[in-house]
Amino acid sequence: MEHIVIIGNGISGITAARHIRKLSDKKITIISAESDYFFSRTALMYVYMGHMKFEHTQPYENWFWKKNRLNLVNGYVTKVDTASKKVILKSSEEIGYDKLIIATGSKPNKFGWPGQDLKGVQGLYSKQDLELLQANAPNNEICKRAVIVGGGLIGIELAEMLRSRDIPVTFLVRENSFWNGVLPQGESQMINEHILEHHIDLKLDTNLKEIISDENGWANAVVTDKGETIQCTVVGLTAGVTPNIDFLKGSGIETGKGVKVNNFLETNIADVYAIGDCAEQHEAIGSRRPVEAVWYTGRMMGETLAQTICGNKRAYNPGHWFNSAKFLDIEYQTYGWVFSEKSKKDHEQHFHWRHPKEKICVTIAFHKDTKQFLGINTFGIRMRHEILDRWLTENRSIAYVMEFLKDANFDPEFYAEYEKAIVSQYNSQFGTNITPKKKSWKRIFSNI
């Protein structure tokens, strides 16, 4: 029986394992040093905030693994020997494989800041990071202030977490507006305001210069490039993540930023594959980045690779880009491509609507000349994935999107509707005369 060994029990590795099991009887072994069972990394914040217990982040009950003959090994892979097809664990145990899937995810970036390895300085990625945070910042008596370095999705989650325990937070963001490398200005601005509303001390356009130690090797202040010194107990480093692949050095597996893979998620070595955060495409697919550290792409790679491994060779060919996040109280969804001013191309034009009072806004990107709909960002409004995916496939125009916008609304029943206001602003801005159509079940389910 063919033996599939998967390093990493995150969403990519587990999705691959589940699908391989569905399709075949192969022997499957999953190795992880982080946790005994698969858990949802994105939910770690809720454990700290008291919304859930750690066990709630585990999507499958503990009997699931045995029942589905997925062997779980708790161990840390230190070496991959591709010549004799085996992996070597820290415990010097060796596990032979016929096919190897590397799904080891990411680790927090550290950019060589002085003091970055002091006690009290940490990232937020793994289960161990969560445990460390619970020890370092259990309350605002022990943690007088936390400084977060890096204005991305993990940074703002960490800020929300600490604020849930009333710990004062200073948030250092390199950019001059929150996440504006990704978000268009209007949206980024709205999130800036929302961060301040939550009593987070947001310092834009500010970099970390150094972390200062006390006499016991604990961080007790940071110095910014503005020359400011901020006393603190905990420093959160959340300036992005980088593939977690150091253990592959000398294995002969080609790596760049991540593990280099082709369209079929194959590495340069036969029978060795890489998926998820740690994989790096030789050539970026469409407007995607070569390394995609996103839950959904990890899952999609797992789904795809399982087919290949089970004899149904498939290229990784993701559909239309989509993503979501939550900034404190504001939900964010994106479908298709809406680029920020920093990275958008000349032909990409934006229509932006923002609610006069509430923290709700929408940005729709379209082609300046052809008026083709390119993508949509929504803040505080939920959108129907299927509808937007369909519109993107059908190359609909912005006018069409405006007219049928109600079909795409996914907010709970009885919620206030904003389509009228959105379309009316669009009309006055572009001199059109579009009336939004009533929501139609027939259209919504027309592809079934």
Partner: protein, 526 residues
């Protein structure tokens, strides 16, 4: 603000303490006149009982029902035992000993409590309401910006099965035990609400009136909490208002007013088989003897169960009843909301749930068929089983223990829908309709789920919502009561309760939306 909250908690606890002490205190004196009145009312012909009462009870002063009640129950049981021995069956007293003790107690209370009903109401209910509101209302400010407010639920003793939760558990269980089995200890509570009862129905309050009034009060106060906690979520606001309206108007006010108008006591929204005694002989007789209104209720009750309920479930899912109208659901969604996360999501619990809830439905329907057979044939037994004993067993095990003591008492430990999930026969019936023929579903939004588990954690019915959401499948489950909290707590906008066409409602998927279109087609062969 924190200070106001603390003061509120303190005031609430004073009110609760006085309320809790009441069953143990009070003066009771049974006068000969009272005795005669009871003898007449209950049609008592047992001279042994009357003599025993006159020797031990009449004319004496008792401190608290704890000292009076045993005298009455012992006298009654001794008298009945003697009559059974002597085969004097006509002299046996069929009123339950505790009901009789309650009747005697109610008629013979005297002293401060009875003379100061209004003041005593304020010191119990009044302080309770005031304190609770002072505790709850500062949350408008303290909870901060509107949004999901679940911070610290698993850190707090009260909401994480700590000692406070266990205290609440003990209190609620004891309260229900008194209510169902020792109503004589509720006599002092009835005095507090006598003025309200007399205003509504013209009669003094019994212990069930206390319960009804308290139910409405608790729901109203806790609805204020819901309004504050979920103020960002219009579905929760509307739903809370609906469930509160149906409890106060349909379950509480209308039946009381009907009594005043010489009509049968009836809750128009309480559908069989939840209303398990609707077809009991005494109820049918009472309805048939009440003229036009009785007949209307009879027809309404039957149409409600056979037509209205399933048709509404077809259009809206069982949520229209379970979390918009039903009283049990109403309490669960208000008082029970802080405990919703305790329902077990394991596969094992689901198995237990299916056996239990459908078992109760079979029990309820079987009992009713026996009852109707007995009613029309006027025979007391069906296939050798005594109809009366089956009814009594159901009333005790399901009506009192399951729905009351366990159903509500276990809120702080097993979550707020123990009864609705494991026991309610109406929920089981509606569940069939919802599962097999309904437009209702919780739509999963394509590939957006991140498996975080908030939805499953906060599902009061113990549905592992995430198991569906992370597969891109709609949630079609007979037990879903459509409370909408999964959708509310989802951080990524994945879940939406909606009514739509039957086609494509159940949508098993292997590969989620967002991946290669060809691969999705290949694997998701529909």
């Amino acid at each position: 603000m924190q200070i106001i909250k603390k003061i509120g908690l303190f005031i609430f606890l004073i009110g609760l303490t006085i309320f809790t002490i009441l069953p143990f205190i009070g003066e009771f004196k049974v006068t000969p006149a009272t005795m005669d009145q009871i003898i007449q009312q209950k049609g008592i012909s047992s001279e042994i009982f009357i003599q025993g009462m006159e020797e031990n009870v009449v004319g004496k002063q008792f401190q608290g029902m704890l000292s009076l009640s045993p005298k009455i129950t012992q006298t009654l049981e001794a008298a009945n035992a003697q009559h059974r021995k002597d085969k004097e069956y006509k002299k046996i007293i069929y009123t339950g000993p505790h009901d009789l003790a309650a009747a005697v107690g109610k008629a013979s209370g005297s002293g401060f409590i009875v003379e100061n009903k209004g003041l005593m109401w304020f010191l119990t209910f009044g302080l309770g309401i005031l304190g609770a509101l002072l505790f709850i209302i500062p949350n408008i400010v303290l909870l901060g910006k509107k949004g999901v407010k679940n911070n610290g639920i698993y850190h707090e003793n009260a909401t994480n099965r700590g000692w406070i939760a266990w205290m609440v558990f003990v209190f609620l269980v004891s309260f229900y035990l008194v209510l169902y089995f020792r109503s004589e200890y509720a006599v002092n509570w009835t005095y507090l609400v006598d003025p309200i009862s007399e205003f509504l129905s013209g009669n003094p309050a019994g212990h069930w009136f206390v319960y009804g009034f308290m139910y409405c009060t608790v729901m109203t106060v806790m609805a204020v909490r819901m309004y504050i906690k979920y103020r960002h979520n219009m579905y929760q606001m509307v739903r809370t208002t609906s469930v509160l309206f149906f409890q106060i108007v349909f379950a509480f006010l209308i039946p009381e007013i009907m009594v005043r108008l010489q009509m049968p006591y009836y809750d128009f929204k309480n559908a069989f088989p939840l209303d398990y005694d609707f077809f009991f002989q005494w109820n049918l007789k009472s309805l048939l003897n009440s003229g036009g209104i009785g007949l209307f209720i009879l027809v309404w009750g039957i149409v409600l169960t056979l037509v209205i309920v399933p048709v509404m479930v077809y259009f809206f899912g069982k949520r229209w009843y379970c979390s918009w109208v039903c009283g049990c659901g109403g309490l669960a969604e208000t008082l029970g909301d802080p405990y919703r996360q305790h329902s077990s999501k394991s596969l094992f619990s689901w198995k237990v749930e299916r056996w239990l809830v459908h078992g109760v439905l079979v029990f309820a329907v079987g009992m009713t068929l026996m009852t109707l057979y007995s009613f029309f044939t006027e025979s007391g037994t069906v296939l050798g089983l005594k109809t009366q004993s089956v009814q009594n067993t159901y009333s005790l095990l399901i009506g009192a223990f399951f729905a009351g003591v366990i159903g509500t008492g276990f809120y702080p430990i097993f979550g707020n829908r123990v009864w609705c999930r494991f026991g309610c026969p109406l929920a089981a019936y509606l569940g069939f309709v919802q599962r097999f023929k309904s437009r209702f579903r919780i739509t999963t939004n394509g590939g957006q789920c991140i498996s975080c588990g908030n939805c499953s954690t906060y599902c009061e019915q113990g549905i592992d919502v995430r198991a569906y959401a992370q597969k891109g499948e709609n949630i079609i489950r007979s037990s879903c009561v459509g409370c909408g909290i999964c959708s509310a707590v989802c951080p990524r906008g994945v879940l939406k309760l909606e009514n739509g066409p039957l086609k494509g409602r159940i949508n098993p998927t292997e590969i989620l939306l967002g991946n290669d279109v060809d691969l999705m087609d290949l694997v998701n062969k529909k």
